[in-house]
Symmetry: D2
Subunit: 250 residues, 4 copies
């Protein structure tokens, strides 16, 4: 008797929790899976929350938007109240014929990026979390939002020390962006409820890997409380790189 997809996924998630516990024990023994903690001058980065990813019917459509979209809305509300910068990314390509000199790079040979037309609605940010004036929308060409865009320049010059990351996908653009963020000197906080993907398992194991090595995976509630307790952005100064205690709210 074969399992249904739902049964398979439930069985996997249960077993993964068991494995994550065992792995965490080993990581802690070795000094891995430390807390990078929150800094004092954050920005929000919503990765690829555009319609091709947030709405059904596209090859890029992701699951769980009924949770992810409200989580992003909560974050935006809290961030805007303090003047914390909000950045959105999307992914699109001018030349989508791989036989011509194209800006798709080699990625079209792994995934269907030829469907991402910059002049289509599909690559616009979802209306439910529409950018307001002064909020940057960055069109990227690869998984990470860092190389090949002006994200790093924006973060550095505005002396951001913490990036609060949401979006899709966990296994792709979110993870690669988080890996680059800590490498470039920004504390990555990944909002657990605000990250999605397309197939069973990948959200769980990528959150686990990110939390083990690259950033802190935090519940939405903590992140919103952190934003609420911040002074106005204009009055913040960044935390120097020396170790800080993880905030008590974790």
């Amino acid at each position: 008797m074969t399992k249904t997809p739902a049964e398979l996924e439930a069985e996997l998630e249960n077993l993964l929790q068991e494995v994550f516990e065992a792995d965490t024990e080993e990581y802690h023994k070795r000094g891995f899976k430390r807390r990078v903690g929150y800094g004092t001058r954050p920005a929000i980065i919503h990765i690829d929350m555009a319609k091709a990813w947030t709405q059904p019917g596209h090859q890029f459509s992701c699951s769980n938007m009924e949770t992810i979209i409200p989580a992003c809305q909560d974050l935006n509300e809290a961030a805007r109240a303090k003047g914390v910068p909000i950045i959105y990314t999307t992914t699109a390509y001018e030349v989508r014929d791989a036989m011509l000199p194209s800006d798709m790079g080699l990625w079209s040979q792994k995934i269907p990026v030829e469907t991402l037309d910059p002049n289509s609605e599909a690559v616009e940010i979802d209306d439910r979390i529409a950018p307001q004036e002064g909020e940057l929308v960055i069109t990227k060409k690869r998984a990470s939002a860092f190389p090949g865009t002006n994200l790093q320049q924006f973060l550095t010059v505005n002396r951001i020390d913490t990036v609060i990351v949401t979006g899709v996908t966990a296994a792709g653009c979110v993870r690669h962006t988080v890996e680059d963020a800590i490498a470039e000197g920004f504390r990555p906080i990944v909002v657990r409820e605000a990250v999605g993907d397309r197939v069973p398992g990948v959200v769980s194991w990528n959150l686990f890997d990110m939390d083990s090595k690259f950033g802190d995976v935090e519940p939405l509630e903590n992140v919103v409380r952190y934003l609420n307790e911040l002074p106005d952005f204009a009055e913040t100064t960044p935390t120097p790189a020396v170790p800080i205690a993880a905030p008590s709210l974790v």
Copy 2:
């Protein structure tokens, strides 16, 4: 009755195979998990095959070296016979006190990079795959071998089109390097038997994710055959970016 670690790992690997099959079916339906294929002018990149990772007793020690080291040896032999460039990375930090201005970045707040002294044996490439004269050893500061090193310059100027990647760890430096490689325009070939990590599960799910979106995971046998069938490196020219059929040996 609790499972032993070996039982837990076996159960996980079995279930993951089932999940990967279901996920692959969904990915194929959507046009993901395509083959990037081999190009015609490769380089080998061994990620962090230094003693802290390849030998027991260090916080960074990885498993499965009895398979990984011979796989790397086979690749080196085949590559050297054709003059294919071999590059090694290691990771080390000059200032390992996080209270001082340090080159550890924020990474010491997630993992124990303060143990990686550039003047210690621990960060030297394992003697069993010792670099020969003219083979580059790059000391990096982050997971990826790309940003912050001269790897990309070396690959671009030498017109490399394919990077054959081995080493550790699957969830860290190998994956981040593979993600960057395809983004920068190099076909990543990940050698299945030559990649390792520290805790159960992570090698499997990271190989699955890499193969789904960023590079082709290939058995050692195929990669060695590919190298054996290459002309001498000096006579190769790179493959242009247009789609090529995956080689028949896959």
Copy 3:
């Protein structure tokens, strides 16, 4: 009796030629000012040939467009005949109030980038050299067209080995792009008649410096002949990095 501006400039240009000769002699003695030469798979990059720079009346307006524009037209015609990729850059900023978190970086504290509105005609490529379909237009935020854009990815994945550079300004975006091009592994050819700036002297001394250390400054005639003698782009393969003799037409 004071000199007129024209007299001052003429005197300067005469003296600079004398100095360049003396400097070149010293450079040659030391092995500097070699020829990087033309490769075999080029792209054209027109730097900031948008209306704010190419037309009068803007703070960014540049001189000598009566020579530069026809030179760019000649290059485009020769390039298009062979399918050689043509890339245009422009510079523009979403948030032009330096008191807000802005994408101008610190550059607005040196030069008037707050005048470069992405929704204005000023930042559109000059109609006389209008991009055709499939030709990339890259909006950059800094002097160089490389970091923070997808230029390098495009060049690498399309296996370009030579970048033919035109545009403005000699002391700013052209020079910085040329410096990065050779560093990243692309042979820079700067087209003498197709480069401009705003004030006396700077075109001459920046061409001299670029030619001494970063790329070859070549007359338009040679570059057009080189393009005319190329096979169709689709049939070219890039030159490996080993030294090649400068082409006889130099």
Copy 4:
């Protein structure tokens, strides 16, 4: 009657001053040549002050070391008193045969980088400004100290906002580093007396260009006074990106 080299240089420097005045007037009219100003959390970067550049007899030897070295010594003394980080760069290549896959990139086809052996004394920092423990020495492969090195990561994570730049050469590595510094979000202060080159004219026109567009060229006296008036580095916080008035000491 031919001019002696000294006569030619004197004539050039006089005329350049006249031209710089006229150019500055035009720049000011257009809103160029603003002051980026000093921030509040600096680092010192000495570019290529290694023996091949600082001592006679090498193809890379530079002039005016009798002024440049003492200026660097003064800066180091003032910086060390406050714990301000000091970074040194040098340039060297592992594989110096351009016929082999080499880390020289294309640069060996313009300038004699094949003379820069990483195991030679020539690429060691000059003893008169020898690095102390904890001061980083970065070996770079190109003109700029930024791409391809860990400089940016170090500056970002340590929340540096200002880079005080010295060294050689004005037309090469110093200028390219300054161009990148402002682009990446760091206020460049170029120390007039501490920058050199090899042939007449290039120091003057490159200082002029840098000051016009990329950073502030400041007399040593001002920079030392700025360092003396800083609090201890550990007590500084970086200046946000909003415009600040140039300090009164300018």
